[in-house]
Symmetry: C2
Subunit: 103 residues, 2 copies
DNA sequence: AATATATTTGACAAATAAAGTCAAAATTTA
DNA sequence: TAAATTTTGACTTTATTTGTCAAATATATT
């Protein structure tokens, strides 16, 4: 299953970067990068954005993976997970039509 | 929009409980209950379960609200939120068919 | 209006979780 | 097998969450 981390690893390898190289460019510890790519540590939005830029890859596409990973984490072990997803969809549409996304 | 908190407040009022009463029964501080009902503090699963029992209300239904609130929180300000939801749905179906929900 | 009851607010402390650092171990590549 | 790369784990620091409490506010009752 494709995650933001697995996608980032794929991109890094395609570009031929080592973790060390990436680490020094974006100033994030190698160990953390390694863990983020493998999903052992939560990927931060900040790192995601830096890597999208470094790899010249569409940030939105990565964000979709990133957010769907987080959503999945909330519901993966839940019996009612799918239903919760549907309700969340209804709610987000409601928010959009009612412009209640202030601040 | 209905949230787990607003539903719990509604149920409490229907049953005629005060926050104090609920507080002493389930042993959670009044201030926290007040905040949880209004969404100012994250509702915990533990409290949700205790209240479902106290109010004799379907836990699964409350869980759907609870989880959808959490999902919404992840994506509410995101341009690609809806797309992320759809991808999350695909992923959860994938996990279900591949029984990768081990542990 | 005054009192009692109920709820909300905010400041603070305690507990928990997340994020960062580093070196040794393990793995992969040349 | 040596060099380069990646992974692991222990540890520290920082940030977030959770709990506690009393004062402030709001709502009900008499």
């Amino acid at each position: 299953m494709e995650t933001a981390g697995s996608k980032l690893r794929e991109l890094r390898q395609e570009k031929g970067f080592s973790l060390q190289e990436v680490s020094s460019v974006i100033d994030v510890d190698i160990a953390i990068l390694s863990k983020m790519e493998r999903g052992e540590r939560k990927l931060s939005r900040e790192v995601l954005e830096k890597l999208a830029e470094l790899y010249k890859y569409d940030l939105k596409e990565l964000l979709v993976l990133f957010l769907s990973d987080r959503i999945l984490y909330e519901i993966k072990d839940e019996e009612v997970g799918e239903e919760a997803l549907k309700v969340a969809e209804e709610k987000i549409r409601y928010l959009k039509t009612h412009q209640e996304n202030r601040n």
